[in-house]
């Protein structure tokens, strides 16, 4: 069986692995420069920048997610490094005009320094006062604010909680405010098409997008192509959007109030074919690739739940590729149907988020006991209970590792970035099949909905997955016979000729595979199941550290906060600090060299979006080390700036 040289998501040492595109050749870039200013012909200033953060914000019905993703696509095609952060309320149409109903889409793009969606926008699109209010606390100095003047009537700003019209006082004096009558101009632009008021109004996002494209000298073709394609069946709507985006572009071109435009340098990415991909889409595709490598159909049993549903919806499109998607009657039927499918020889997965994970708990125990291959994806969100359905959090880690009755070990992995969800879905399947164990793959809302360019892989680039041979049919084989190295039992799908056998949730005799309540046998089986999972580590690549010579502070992270943590540490390293980072994707079992890494550092700081779950797990595993914590539980990802502050403080106290 193949052993990976390096964990899939580590950027610096793994040229063939899932490179996080934004980090490619990071070391070769100079530190981020100050904005280079060049005056352009119209007397405006054109700023050349390494990277820039744009945020689209409006009512959840304003089409901000669409505007954001179209903008992302265009900048990606140009070759920029990108990180995105869609942030929306859990209600489909939250109360209009209120701060609670604001939907946002933040994009950080550029040549270098793109480790995260960015702490704060350089350009904010605010479609109404609520969108402005929601973002006011986190604007960069001199930020450009594009807003729809038409939606700043008294009623509107009162609803958003302003005491006066924010466009009129000196509240925004430090910013470049561009108040444009977007509603009026959009209606004017599409007037010739005879659309009703509502349909015309819906093109506001296209108009605004046109303005933003002009601001960054980006072409419109990609978006125009999109609108024509999307509204093939209602071409007048497609045309209206095309007219609106062009009108927005031209309006910005002629409008003197815009004082600066930007030129964003493209990133120097590894050559190849790229596409934008979200974490959920990459997860779905990773499973398709893995099932193809195993040579069996893929079975997904799932129940709709935010923010995991997109994985099911993506796979449902690909029945042609052997994906069997079963939308079950509940979370429990989602996983138990998958367990049945594993018993009958499909590559079986189930996808969910925290509350669904809780419901699946008993069935995961069955998969542990029956020793069947199964991948359980938990796209984490804020908890407990229903919690924050659309917000990101990392608070299901201990549930994944330990949250079952009995001694119930399984493998826990986590993905780091939107695109590397592909590789971790693949790796989770490999481990499940080769080691005959359930595997929990933890992603999180932040990377599941976030998008980034993915250097497209082919099946030929992926490692083989060995499902093993069927045993002989002479009666010598027993269902719980094991491979002497991995301790995995054989996968003998129901229907295999001459190999009928029985498995189940009751304890089995370690030799005959028959039901057994023998005390010593139970203890032996508990140990075998533990050792089987521990031995997964025998074939894992070493855990890596960035910061070879550092010895003072080790930053420890896991899961989808990778980009932000890595960015913060990289910046401090460039500033000369004695700091390093190690980021865990293999969580249970841990890579075998983990302790030797911890031993090198004076201080270890575990950073996660929870109250310290990885820290607790590490303390239990390595009581000899002292783990400090940096935690945030706000339903929001880390910010580079807050991390840098915290790290510097730790270094100063050291």
């Amino acid at each position: 069986m193949p052993t990976r040289e390096s964990p899939p998501s580590w950027p610096s040492d793994n040229p063939n692995g899932p490179i996080v595109n934004s980090f490619t050749k990071l070391e070769n870039h100079p530190p981020e420069q100050d904005l280079a200013l060049t005056a352009n012909v119209k007397g405006r200033v054109n700023k050349q920048v390494n990277s820039v953060v744009v945020k689209f914000a409006g009512d959840s019905g304003d089409g901000m997610q669409l505007a954001g993703s179209l903008f992302t696509e265009t900048t990606a095609i140009k070759g920029n490094a990108i990180a995105t952060f869609p942030d929306f309320p859990s209600e489909i149409r939250a109360p209009q005009g209120t701060v609670a109903g604001v939907s946002g889409y933040q994009i950080h793009f550029g040549a270098s320094g793109v480790h995260s969606p960015g702490d704060a926008p350089d350009v904010l699109v605010a479609m109404n006062p609520a969108a402005l209010k929601a973002n006011l606390q986190q604007l960069k100095p001199a930020c450009t604010i594009l807003c729809d003047k038409d939606s700043f009537a008294k009623r509107d700003w009162e609803k958003a909680g302003f005491d006066s019209n924010p466009l009129e006082g000196d509240l925004l004096a430090d910013y470049q405010v561009v108040p444009a009558p977007i509603t009026t101009l959009t209606k004017g632009a599409v007037a010739g098409l005879g659309l009703d008021n509502k349909a015309a109004d819906r093109c506001k996002n296209a108009f605004t997008l046109g303005m933003v494209f002009w601001l960054f000298s980006e072409p419109l073709d990609q978006s125009i192509k999109f609108f024509r394609q999307k509204f093939k069946k209602t071409p007048e709507i497609g045309e209206a959007n095309v007219l609106a985006i062009k009108a927005g572009y031209n309006y910005a071109l002629t409008m003197e109030v815009i004082k600066a435009t930007y030129t964003v340098l493209p990133a120097s990415k590894a050559p190849g074919v790229y596409r934008n991909i979200t974490g959920n889409q990459a997860t779905a595709w990773g499973f398709l690739a893995a099932a193809a490598k195993v040579g069996k159909d893929l079975f997904l049993g799932s129940y709709p739940i935010t923010p995991a549903t997109d994985i099911m919806q993506e796979l449902a499109k690909h029945k042609w590729a052997g994906a069997k998607v079963f939308q079950a009657e509940d979370e429990i039927a989602g996983i138990t149907s998958a367990i049945g499918a594993a018993f009958a020889g499909n590559v079986a997965i189930t996808t969910t988020s925290g509350p669904g994970m809780a419901l699946k708990t008993e069935a995961i125990g069955l998969a542990v006991m029956a020793e069947l291959p199964l991948v359980i994806v938990n796209v984490q969100r804020g908890g407990p209970s229903t919690g924050l359905p659309t917000k990101t959090e990392q608070s299901d880690l201990l549930q994944a590792i330990w949250g079952r009755n009995g001694e119930s070990p399984l493998v826990v992995l986590s993905a780091s970035t939107p695109s590397d969800c592909f590789d971790w879905a693949f790796e989770a399947t490999r481990i499940a099949v080769e080691h005959m164990t359930p595997v929990v793959l933890l992603t999180e809302s932040y990377i599941a909905n976030g998008a980034e360019p993915w250097k497209v892989k082919t099946l030929e680039q992926m490692p083989e997955i060995q499902a093993g041979q069927l045993p002989p049919t002479d009666g010598s084989w027993k269902p719980y016979d094991r491979d002497c190295h991995s301790l995995a039992r054989k996968w003998v799908p129901a229907g295999s000729p001459g190999l009928q056998h029985r498995i189940g949730g009751l304890e089995k005799d370690q030799f005959s595979g028959c039901v057994s309540h023998n005390p010593n046998n139970h203890e032996a089986m508990v140990a075998i199941r533990r050792d089987k999972v521990d031995r997964v580590a025998d074939r894992l690549p070493d855990q890596k550290v960035k910061g070879k010579n550092a010895s003072k502070l080790l930053v420890v992270g896991w899961g989808g906060q990778f980009g932000i943590l890595f960015g913060a540490v990289s910046e401090l390293q460039q500033e000369g600090y004695d700091i390093a980072i190690t980021h865990f994707n293999y969580i249970h079992p841990l890579p075998k060299n983990t302790a030797s890494i911890f031993a090198r550092f004076q201080k270890i700081l575990v950073c996660e979006l929870n109250n310290g779950q990885l820290a607790k797990y590490l303390r239990a595993t390595f009581p000899q080390f002292n783990f400090q914590q940096y935690n945030k539980v706000q339903g929001q990802p880390f910010k580079v700036s807050e991390l840098k502050n915290a790290f510097v403080q730790q270094l100063q106290e050291a």
Binding site: W285, K319, W320, K324, I332, T336, G340, A344, G504, G505
Partner: protein, 340 residues
């Protein structure tokens, strides 16, 4: 049919080598015999059968059969079996369950399995009690019964398995007593042949915790008058000398005595198990002692769209329509861009 083999096996060839551990006298033994007989009559290949169970006395069933078997968790057998069938549609899939397993903790999967009409068979051992946990009331326990969890008598209304099945869109429903191995085996054979979800309720006796709960139906003296064994296309007659019949009087069923009050065989309803409408089937299911005999045999066996067939058909249709030659094609489809 792939699941059928040529070399004839005897019923006992289908039993595993495990010692059967139900209480002596338990009705489960008869079901075990009936299943073996049905499998032998159908000449099923042992390795093409998967028996899936949940938790309860009856759910130990898979261990006692030399087929593929999976003893899962409480209430979830139908959901596990759904995954088994979709993963390998050529398997003959049997769910063994009880009244607590299927109707209480597994009630959700029970109704959705009926609704979807996936091609598998469910044998529900209805002993109107929780046996394995030692005698608590189940959703089918007679109201008023004094048990350890209802020392003052249960105040719960009961589920009727048949009504629940038909109400949830079930297309095949049969009811059989554990005292009649021949009828059980016959009904199981029909269930196997039926395309879609086949529901068999076995009136099973728990000698330990609910002895004789079905005795009025199954008892030697009473059974001629208390059982109406239905056969498709045959008149609904019963009684020691076939002297009784069921007729439709207006919108109600009625018991008549042939040769009395001007009633003859022509007044008796003829059973049509295949009728798409389940109204009459529901009325038959609802017949209760003492006014009526209890309807047994295959009460409903209607054709409808079958979930696993449609599931496969969609995949096949998409395979012949897809623009993608393979996954590499998919990964490179849509908006890709080249960086040099």
């Amino acid at each position: 049919m792939e699941a059928i083999q040529t070399a004839a096996l005897k019923p006992r060839d289908y039993a595993s080598d495990q010692e059967v551990k139900w209480c002596p006298g338990c009705g489960d033994y008869a079901v075990h015999s009936a299943v073996q007989k049905a499998f032998a009559d159908l000449a099923l290949k042992k390795d093409q059968v998967a028996i899936i169970s949940g938790i309860g006395c009856s759910s130990r069933f898979p261990y006692y059969m030399d087929t593929y078997g999976f003893h899962t968790i409480h209430g979830r057998a139908a959901a596990v079996a759904t995954g088994v069938k979709l993963a390998n549609p050529s398997l003959s899939v049997w769910v063994m369950t009880g009244d607590g397993d299927a109707l209480a903790i597994g009630g959700n999967h029970f109704i959705h399995a009926q609704r979807r009409n996936i091609d598998m068979n469910m044998v529900l051992f209805n002993n109107e009690i929780y046996g394995l946990t030692k005698g608590q009331h189940s959703p089918t326990t007679a109201k008023g019964k004094v048990l350890k969890s209802s020392p003052l008598g249960t105040i719960e209304n009961t589920f009727s398995v048949g009504e629940l099945c038909l109400g949830a869109g079930g297309q095949f429903y049969a009811r059989v007593p554990d005292t009649d191995v021949k009828l059980m085996a016959q009904v199981m054979t029909e269930a196997y042949r039926h395309k879609g979800f086949a529901m068999i309720e076995v009136l099973q006796n728990c000698v330990i915790f609910n002895d004789k709960t079905h005795a009025q139906i199954t008892g030697k003296e009473s059974r001629a008058l208390n059982q109406l064994v239905l056969e498709h296309g045959k008149p609904m007659i019963f009684g020691a000398n076939s002297e009784k019949g069921i007729r439709l009087n207006g919108l109600e069923l009625e018991v008549i005595t042939l040769g009395q009050g001007g009633m003859g065989i022509n007044d008796v309803l003829v059973h049509d198990a295949t009728n798409k409408s389940n109204i009459l089937h529901t009325m038959l299911v609802q017949m209760r002692l003492p006014e009526f005999p209890v309807a047994l045999g295959v009460i409903r066996r209607a054709q409808s769209s079958v979930f696993d067939q449609d599931f496969l058909a969609q995949s096949e249709a998409q395979k012949s329509n897809t623009p993608f030659k393979g996954l590499n094609d998919l990964f490179h489809s849509g908006n890709t861009f080249q960086i040099n």
